[in-house]
């Protein structure tokens, strides 16, 4: 089944074809489940003018934050940003554009992008700055906003395990936006901790079927923790 073998040998190959001014959808929530090595490869490549769609923008020196260092990001589409000083500076200096999108709407926009739904209605954001310039419509006596789908030139995704056909499972809450981004990229690249034999993943428990995935690359991960909270042991 050579035609279904999605595994590439290097990160360079994984991000081949990335060009300036492209739109990239990235999985992850905070620093959890972020495609950290694919982000590093984008930094190495030096592509500029990028639009990045991701719930957050990393921190100074890690995650998407490192793409700010060489001003590679032109625009962020996110629900929550600014955990990093560099982000704040570039935003205030007008070097970075931000489109704030409610978290649930952002998730649904990516899902819609992958699912051939060009737009959907939601009550989220009605009467708020998010509603500016958007169509509204009443259903059953309540007002809803029309929100359009998002797709990307690339989707960069962090999985736990994948097989060569690109079937992916995620680990714990590192799932988050990853399966949604995976559906909505023209080229979807998944980096994983482990590549397993085809047939090893239970068909009923695959989170992202291989049909959405173009490339799989094996990586090692730092997995930085943003807020380390522990229960002291007695």
């Amino acid at each position: 089944m050579a035609g279904f073998d999605k595994v590439v040998a290097s990160y360079e190959e994984a991000m081949a074809g990335l060009q300036d001014n492209m739109t990239i959808l990235a999985g992850g929530f905070g620093l959890c489940g972020i495609p950290e090595n694919l982000i590093a490869e984008i930094k190495r490549k030096g592509s500029k003018g990028l639009t990045v769609v991701s719930n957050n923008c990393g921190v100074d020196g890690f995650g998407l934050g490192i793409l700010l260092e060489d001003k590679q990001i032109r625009k962020m589409v996110s629900s929550y940003v600014g955990e990093n000083a560099l982000f704040e500076k570039q935003l205030l200096d007008g070097e970075l554009e931000v489109e704030l999108t409610p978290q649930g709407t952002l998730a649904e926009k990516m899902r819609a992008g992958g699912a051939g739904i060009p737009a959907f209605y939601t009550a989220t954001g009605v009467g708020t700055p998010v509603a500016e310039g958007k169509e509204t419509k009443q259903f059953h006596g309540r007002e809803y906003l029309l929100e359009e789908a998002i797709t990307g030139d690339f989707a960069i995704v962090k999985g736990w395990k994948a097989d060569r056909y690109g079937n992916v499972v995620y680990r714990h809450t590192a799932q988050n936006f990853n399966p949604l981004a995976a559906t909505a990229g023209k080229i979807t690249v998944v980096e994983v901790e482990e590549i397993v034999e085809v047939g090893e993943l239970d068909p009923a428990h695959i989170h992202t079927p291989g049909i959405y995935v173009d490339r799989v690359v094996l990586g090692t991960f730092e997995k930085r923790i943003e807020k380390r909270t522990v229960t002291p042991t007695e």
Partner: protein, 219 residues
């Protein structure tokens, strides 16, 4: 005396029911989990994709892949489920969460809430708050009754950009428990030792004061 943060959490916890699925925001709402009555169970939903959030892990069990919406490392309880952000907000937007508790800057008599944006200050974003207030039937807002300058946060019209429109019916402040009905705050309970006069003075929006306003009790 105005309520402490712990007392506020304790008062909110009195609104819990056995079998409730609950989403708790950052700050005082998070503390509510510490006051769940012994004869009752609730399951905590965390909007990053977790239903059945447990306590913080130990140093031995900490796992970067297991966090909550506040980005804190957590554990799961038995019977938990983990899913994508789209599924998580399907639950929230679809009204499946029984109770949402969150903080705010301002609330008004129309049930509007402002909680995410102060113009001319750095805007970090609304995160999941707009989805939470739009999706939930049952929301409790927790906040101080007035700012440190003494400016009321219970207004006739929110002055800040909204998080949600007409969605708030219950507010717990450090001074009072209030409900919003027909364009007014109804004073339901006052903090122990706090006078009705003080609450009236610190409430800018229309306030209806029933004949009898009992003090809160904490058992």
């Amino acid at each position: 005396m105005s309520l402490t943060r712990e007392q506020m959490a304790q008062r909110v916890a009195q609104e819990l029911q056995d079998g409730f699925y609950v989403n708790l925001g950052i700050g005082i709402p998070t503390l509510v989990a510490n006051f769940v009555p012994n004869n009752m169970s609730v399951m905590l939903q965390s909007e990053n994709g977790l239903l059945g959030m447990g306590e913080f892990p130990t140093e031995d069990t900490i796992d970067a892949d297991m966090i909550n919406a506040g980005k804190q490392t957590v554990t799961t309880v038995k019977g938990a489920s983990i899913f994508s952000s789209a599924e998580s907000f399907a639950m929230i937007r679809g009204g499946h969460v029984d109770l949402t508790v969150l903080g705010a800057f301002e609330v008004d008599v129309q049930g509007n809430i402002a909680s995410w944006m102060i113009p001319n200050k750095l805007i970090k974003g609304m995160g999941g708050a707009m989805d939470l207030v739009a999706g939930a039937e049952n929301i409790i807002v927790t906040m101080t009754h007035a700012s440190k300058n003494g400016d009321s946060k219970l207004l006739s019209n929110c002055s800040l950009p909204l998080t949600g429109k007409g969605c708030i019916k219950k507010v717990l402040t450090d001074l009072a428990w209030l409900e919003i009905e027909n364009g007014a705050f109804i004073l339901k309970e006052r903090a122990p030792g706090v006078s009705v006069e003080e609450i009236v003075e610190k409430t800018q929006g229309k306030l209806i004061v029933p004949d009898d306003v009992p003090e809160m009790t904490f058992s």
